[in-house]
């Protein structure tokens, strides 16, 4: 029997339960993950392999040690430079265990080429720290005043930087008063001086509208004061007090912690001077434009009013005030003549009717027959008209009615109705 096959169990002691390999590995893993959740490691790359999957495997080593590293595809894709064996790098990641092999390894999520030096590392560490504290949060950026009345400048009182800035400010916007707080911009005391100057301007909220913290170009070491924590905090404090800060350190390519902390970063001090004030020539043009727009707007407003008025005047009521009345008169006239015509018509119709009746009556009158030369004859003393000679005898007295007047005559002879007329 092998001595270590079972744990020794002294008599009387409780039975000790053994861990499985998986359990032990899990415990180690937990320990490692907790202790090395986020570490920066520098070393040299070896055994660098890019897998088909896009994941990257390598070993990071120095003179006396090495550690296996994995970089997952997503992180590897973000690399801006080519990685190869022998390259000195700075990686960031967490340590964990790969249980199937029992290896601990570094899971890398970021990689930087080395040769950056300790300053860069310090910069990055401070950057991370301040970012976590929210110092660079975009929502904390205070907008610059459009037209500052008083501008604070924190910089060296000597050299080209302040001269250039004053020249540009004087040319672009001489209305602004400049308050300079001279400081040393490099060396041991620089960070504290800069920070204090910024705090001073922070106390002048309402008096000073904006502050520029500036320094000309130089080496990374020269610009270092602007990578100090106290300067970054002083910048934020000044801004929170109501005085926005523009950082203008070095050249275009130099980014400092102050640049990130400031409300606005200018690539150079000259650019800061350009951006902090409007240009008076442009402002004059703007004023001219507004002047024209004011005049134009008023003119069109007046024209509008005039058109409105004219549209009223064009209304018939104003143009021909008697028209309505005339129209009424005409209406009455029309009705009058209609009435007249109707009356005329009525009358003439009646007249015609009357004439017709009268002529019919006329035609039937016996007098009409007499008129044509006929006559009526009857025996005197009798009523009946004579129609035949048989009815009279010689010697009878006859009355003859003519159209005009009567005759009384005596019969001399009688011819029979059958005889021819003599």
């Amino acid at each position: 029997m092998l001595p270590f096959d079972t744990p020794p169990s002294p008599p009387g002691a409780k039975a000790v339960s053994a861990l499985t390999v998986s359990q032990l590995t899990a415990l180690i893993r937990e320990l490692l993950e907790e202790a090395f959740d986020d570490v920066w490691v520098c070393g040299e790359i070896s055994n660098y392999k890019e897998h088909m999957s896009g994941h990257v495997y390598f070993t990071l080593k120095d003179e006396t040690a090495q550690i296996r590293c994995v970089m997952w595809r997503d992180a590897a894709k973000r690399l801006r430079f080519r990685v190869h064996d022998g390259l000195q790098v700075l990686v960031r990641g967490r340590v964990s265990v790969f249980p199937p092999r029992g290896d601990y390894q570094l899971y890398v999520r970021e990689m930087q080429p080395r040769g950056l030096g300790p300053l860069e590392l310090a910069f990055r560490q401070l950057y991370e720290k301040l970012q976590k504290l929210g110092l660079f949060a975009p929502e904390r950026k205070r907008p610059l005043p459009r037209v500052p009345r008083r501008i604070g400048i924190v910089t060296s009182p000597r050299g080209a930087v302040i001269r250039d800035m004053l020249r540009i400010l004087g040319r672009r916007w001489p209305l602004a008063e400049i308050w300079i707080r001279p400081v040393t911009v490099q060396g041991e005391t620089a960070p504290a001086e800069i920070a204090e100057a910024l705090r001073w301007f922070g106390r002048l909220s309402g008096v000073v509208d904006v502050v520029i913290v500036a320094r000309g170009g130089g080496s990374a070491e020269d610009l270092w004061a602007f990578n100090e924590e106290c300067v970054a905090f002083a910048i934020r404090a000044c801004s929170e007090n109501g005085v926005p800060v523009i950082s203008a350190v070095g050249h275009e390519v130099d980014w400092t912690i102050a640049d990130y902390a400031a409300d606005k970063r200018a690539a150079t001090p000259s650019e800061a001077a350009e951006m902090v004030v409007p240009d008076q020539q442009e402002m004059r043009q703007l004023l001219q434009t507004w002047k024209r727009r004011l005049e134009q707007a008023l003119r069109s407003r007046v024209q509008n009013a005039r058109r409105h008025l004219e549209s009223f005047l064009r209304h018939p009521v104003f143009r021909r005030p008697l028209q309505r009345i005339k129209e009424k008169v005409q209406l009455v006239d029309d009705l009058g003549s209609q009435l007249h015509q109707a009356m005329q018509h009525f009358l003439s119709e009646r007249k015609q009717q009357l004439a017709l009746l009268s002529s019919r009556l006329h035609a039937l009158s016996p007098l009409q027959v007499l008129q044509r030369g006929y006559s009526l004859t009857w025996k005197e003393g009798e009523k009946a008209l004579l129609r035949s000679s048989d009815e009279v005898a010689v010697g009878d007295c006859l009355i003859t009615q003519l159209a005009r007047g009567c005759l009384r005559s005596r019969v001399e002879s009688v011819q029979s109705p059958g005889d021819a007329h003599s």
Binding site: R149, P157, L294
Partner: protein, 105 residues
């Protein structure tokens, strides 16, 4: 605001305030539904603001001061600032800015 009241506040306006106010008048006149009388008043204010802006521009002369310290009352103490090459001249008279308290250096 009457025209007189407006004239009184006008002289106290900073350039930016005058500019912002001018912008408002232009906007109101261009897009507002102003009565004719209001439009005229608006125009008049705009012209006055323009004049104020031009006045400030014409009067402008860059003033550069150095922030020296703070007084007991918490007011900034400033003096005229000269560029490095002029600093050789001694016996510079101390001055104060309008918003600051005078204090000899």
């Amino acid at each position: 605001m009457t025209a007189d009241e407006f004239d009184q506040t006008l002289v106290q306006l900073s350039f930016e305030q005058a500019l912002t106010e001018l912008e408002k008048q232009v906007d109101a006149l261009e897009h507002g539904q102003l009565g004719l009388e209001d439009a005229l008043a608006c125009f008049e204010r705009g012209v006055k603001l323009l004049r104020r802006c031009y006045q400030l521009l014409e009067r402008a002369e860059q003033r550069v001061q150095e922030l020296v310290s703070f007084s007991e009352r918490g007011e900034a103490v400033v003096r005229p600032f000269s560029l490095a090459e002029e600093e050789a001249t001694p016996g510079r008279a101390a001055n104060s800015a309008s918003a600051a308290q005078s204090k000899p250096t």
